[in-house]
């Protein structure tokens, strides 16, 4: 009974955090990708979605693999196991999160370097010299 309860709490928390981090990356990473792909929103959305799917697959896979554990003898041990498992998953999620951010920046920089494009978008466009 104790094991079942621990497993349930573990699954609810880890999956909820996975979805939260994934959605956060999906929402806020879009701007990076639109910039990286030179305002090509369709391509940016497509890559963003594919990254999200990859993120969910890797994290859900890890959460499932990490589920298996020793059989807790008492409530304290159950809590200990739950806590260490949650810690592992959160660290993996954090690592994945920063890896995604690194990928976004990398996409952007390589796209700009390939085109020899300016590093930033201009503030305004003005007519040059007075004739």
């Amino acid at each position: 009974m104790l094991s079942l309860l621990s497993y349930s709490v573990y699954l609810v928390i880890t999956l909820a955090v996975t979805v939260y981090v994934g959605q956060s990356l999906f929402r806020h990473g879009r701007a990076f990708l639109v910039d990286a792909f030179h305002e090509n929103e369709a391509l940016a959305d497509s890559v963003n979605h594919l990254l999200l799917v990859g993120f969910y697959l890797i994290n859900t896979g890890y959460v499932c693999l990490a589920l298996q554990s020793r059989h807790p003898l008492d409530a304290a041990m159950a809590l200990e196991i739950l806590s260490s498992k949650l810690g592992e998953v959160l660290l993996i999620l954090g690592g994945m999160h920063f890896f995604n951010l690194y990928l976004f920046s990398r996409f952007r920089r390589s796209a700009l370097i390939t085109r020899g494009a300016p590093p930033i978008i201009h503030d305004t466009v003005v007519q040059g010299r007075a004739s």
Binding site: A31, H38, S105, L112, P118, P119, H122, D123, A130
Partner: protein, 140 residues
Amino acid sequence: MSTPTTVAFATPKQLTVFYDGRCALCTKVHDWLSRTELLIPIELRDLRSNSTQTEYPALRDAMLSGQFIVLADDGRTYFDTKAKLMVLYATSRYRDLSYRLSAPLLYPSTDRIFSAVAAGRWMLGSPPVADCRSGVCTHG
């Protein structure tokens, strides 16, 4: 930005850099730029000179407020931190750095540091001896 993408990301053929000829740090940058290998030619103009302000009426207000300005040959204009990143971008040695500093993760820090340096530019270096009456500054 409402301008078309092709304009925003096209490689400029020339940049005109408007700098403050009365600030020591800016004239040091002027000297450094004239010695540095450039990927894009740069014309340096003192934004405090009357001839520059007359020649570029659209930028006069920005010049009067003392903003560091970069104007591309096709009219794209960059102010302050963006202008400084464009100067780095024009150099052979620091182009890669300009991409790194403008990455979304680093840009806020870049902006803060560049703005702090710009705010303290009057305290950095000794006053320049420059003749900018013709609009193009000469030092000596």
